[in-house]
Symmetry: C2
Subunit: 474 residues, 2 copies
């Protein structure tokens, strides 16, 4: 494990509260072997993929059902002790860190697929189900769940951060794909939001209020999501460009023309080189678009023809096809491993990851300068983008023992976010605010909107026990 890294604007929120022995005793009595206070277990639940390290939670409860979650929250509420939900630990923004102490509530054992309603294109799962597990469970129905953030995240974690990923350009994000929830409130009560109906105007949209609330307003214990028919035809292609600008401008035009492309991912030349090394591939080391087309055979062909014409205009090299499922899997696995390839390309490094998303017409303005700045900084980096959505990630690969480098990377991050906000974009397309983007959130949405978020938090969780110290300071 790498050395601890703390960030300046983290400190104000790091003030662990006392966890009384009486709470641990009460939890032990209720949960027996489902409670762990072992150091190794606490440490495993006290970190994520972010570059922050803080003291781990005091204890971990392994919930196995909704009643477990409700009882754990009720006990914690009694002692006003923080509760931090934990799925698989793939957060990039410090969501899982016990900055105010408390207990971790691990829902990974709540991994049942509860109800597949193929006839309605919906499935209801417990929060610990991962996206690959979900897709394996529904495979025989001819349906699939498209949201694919790369990591094999839990559906609960994906809902909590409003995740998206490579397929979002066509199928939307968790925002569009969660239909209904069962939620344990800060008081330990169990409520339901939404129904399995495709649309509804029944009162406040509590489902979408919970989606993206990063565990601060409630803990999801059941999640109903949409499924989609597996496309009749799927084609994946790689196109290489001599310039990053050409790749970006190709993307912009594809989206502006309304091509219903299913995936449109960008890697710059540096990142292609890193991926080649990690995944033993021989991809041409230029800016690269990885695309996937879903539809009927004729529909896919139409999309491909349109996109080929656009890439030709932007000096794209010939398409390379991945037509068999095996080739496609190899390609997308390499793409999904880009993050790990990046992190492993610099031994001992930690990644500071950006997540800007801008209106599609501003993508070149947002992205090209950010890559140039990273190159000029001399800090190793990787760059991947769900560019069809106007979303891209820089990973600055820093030596955690080198504060100058860390500051330089954070300065790049600030420049990048400032640029994205000036272009009408957001500081986070899909990773969430967590600890790392709390300052950016205020810049983006203004103090008034953050005050409204805070008022909602105070109303629903007056003792601030649900994942406190995240999204905004209280």
């Amino acid at each position: 494990m790498n050395a601890p890294l703390t960030s300046g604007h983290l400190l104000p929120h790091t003030h662990p509260r006392d966890v009384p022995a009486a709470l641990i005793d009460a939890l032990r009595q209720r949960f027996g072997a489902q409670l762990s206070t072992a150091q190794v277990v606490r440490e495993q639940h006290g970190r994520d993929e972010s570059a922050f390290s803080v003291a781990p939670p005091e204890a971990v409860v392994f919930a196995e059902c909704t009643q477990d979650v409700s009882d754990a929250v009720k006990l914690a509420a009694q002692f006003k002790v923080p509760v931090i939900p934990f799925g698989v630990g793939s957060s990039l923004e410090g969501h899982l860190l016990a900055v105010q102490g408390g207990i971790s509530l691990d829902v990974s054992r709540m991994n049942q697929v509860l109800a597949i309603a193929a006839c309605d294109l919906t499935v209801t799962v417990q929060p610990g189900v991962t996206r690959t597990q979900l897709n394996a469970a529904v495979k025989s129905t001819g349906l699939f769940f498209p949201i694919d953030p790369g990591a094999d995240a839990s559906i609960g974690g994906m809902a909590a951060t409003r995740a998206s990923g490579t397929n979002a350009v066509r199928y939307g994000t968790m925002r569009e794909n969660v239909l209904a929830l069962e939620v344990v409130t800060a008081q330990g009560e169990v409520i339901r939001t939404g129904t399995r109906a495709k649309k509804s105007s029944a009162g406040y949209d509590l489902t979408r209020l919970m989606v993206g609330s990063e565990g601060t307003l409630g803990i999801m214990t059941e999640i109903t999501v949409k499924l989609y028919p597996l496309p009749e035809a799927v084609m994946a292609a790689i196109v290489s460009f001599d310039s990053l600008a050409d790749a970006v401008n190709t993307t912009i035009q594809i989206i502006q023309m309304g091509v219903p492309i299913a995936r449109c991912e960008l890697l710059d030349a540096t990142t292609v080189r890193i991926v080649n090394g990690y995944s033993k591939l021989k991809l041409r080391e230029g800016a690269m678009l990885l695309m996937e087309f879903h539809g009927s055979p004729a529909g896919v062909q139409e999309q491909v023809d349109t996109v080929q014409a656009i890439t030709d205009e932007h000096h794209g090299h010939a398409f390379e096809w991945a037509q068999t499922p095996e080739e496609r899997t190899r390609l997308w696995t390499a793409r999904h491993n880009a993050y790990f390839a990046g992190v492993q390309s610099v031994p001992g490094c930690r990644a500071i990851t950006t997540d800007a998303c801008v209106p599609i017409s501003r993508l070149a303005d947002a992205l090209l300068d950010s890559v140039t700045e990273a190159q000029q900084s001399g800090i190793p980096y990787f760059m991947v983008g769900h560019v069809g959505d106007g979303n891209f990630h820089m990973g600055y690969l820093i030596d955690p023992d080198n504060p100058e480098q860390r500051d330089a990377a954070e300065a790049l991050n600030h420049q990048l976010v400032a640029r994205a906000l000036a272009l009408g974009g957001t500081c986070t397309g899909e990773h969430g605010v967590g600890l790392h983007k709390m300052g950016f959130l205020v810049e983006e949405t203004g103090a008034g909107a953050v005050a409204m978020m805070r008022a909602i938090k105070n109303a629903l969780d007056p003792d601030n026990i649900l994942n406190p110290g995240k999204i905004f300071a209280l």
Copy 2:
């Protein structure tokens, strides 16, 4: 105008608060001719398309800009007097009625299209812009705004009720199509939610909390929505069936097969007869599906081929095509006029309208019995359905002076909603809760979820001045 109709479960929320003369004076000083206390103006702002009548608001402020809205709310807040936003008055559920007195805030003069960003497929409008006005404004860009609730509603009203309509089966509802908002809070502060980026994980989803909040959490003063490229090819078709069940089962199969149909509307034989009379058409008087297909020419042909095969299986009569824009307009105008055709088919009647939406596989269970019950009741009715979404409306056409008939219609409504909820559906797919569905909301979502909505309302509007007495009792 029809005679007043009050409903039993309305009364508890009808307790007008005092509107001090000092407030009217202050409003007159600030707004001059933009303030009206004329009886005819007040009455016009004190009713909507619902079957309820209550005393009108004490005054009407015609806001012309965000500052007007902010100032009006600040003055009302000072005196703790209700403020009810008003667009074009097309609500069906009593949203606009001054059940607790107060002032109406008419935003219909805020009808500027502020920014068309064709290159990003977005447009920003003031809340008083209507959907036909919006589509006229963007026509030259080759883009369109698909949400089409039938009435030429204001975009503000559509956002406030989370409206949808005939195109939602393909393009989603206001939930999916509003990207960002400017909102005046209950304190008169101006905040912004969301950005023009297509996706975001930046904190609580205040945009979607506001969408569907029926004017109770804030007043929208700018609304940014998505646009879509006008489809290359459009085909509309009518298919007639001898049985309603065949039409419904055809719909279910179209959706389950994943056909990206743009519109899939159902009228029963009774309603086709009413529409023929009103719109001077000669449609075959059986259960009828009106469908529209959007896409490339080849893509549309594929959809049509699939749908024709499905309708053949369910004994559909031959497709009748509306291929020219003029024919299509005539067809959809007739469909949109079905509500008015229904209401006018019984002189002097008022309509009690239902709005259930169920998971698609349960549509036949939900719809067929509801139509049979209406037929057996002897109460005149019409039935239209956005059936591709599992959403359908019964309009019970009652004599407002006949309490037995009103009670019988409400009993039918209760049976219909109970059935929809038992099938996993919602009491309102698109009209909102307003006054009429407050009891149903509790049945649907449970007391816990309604308590959470109430807590949010109390936190954001502690004096309960924004459209009080709607959605839930306070």
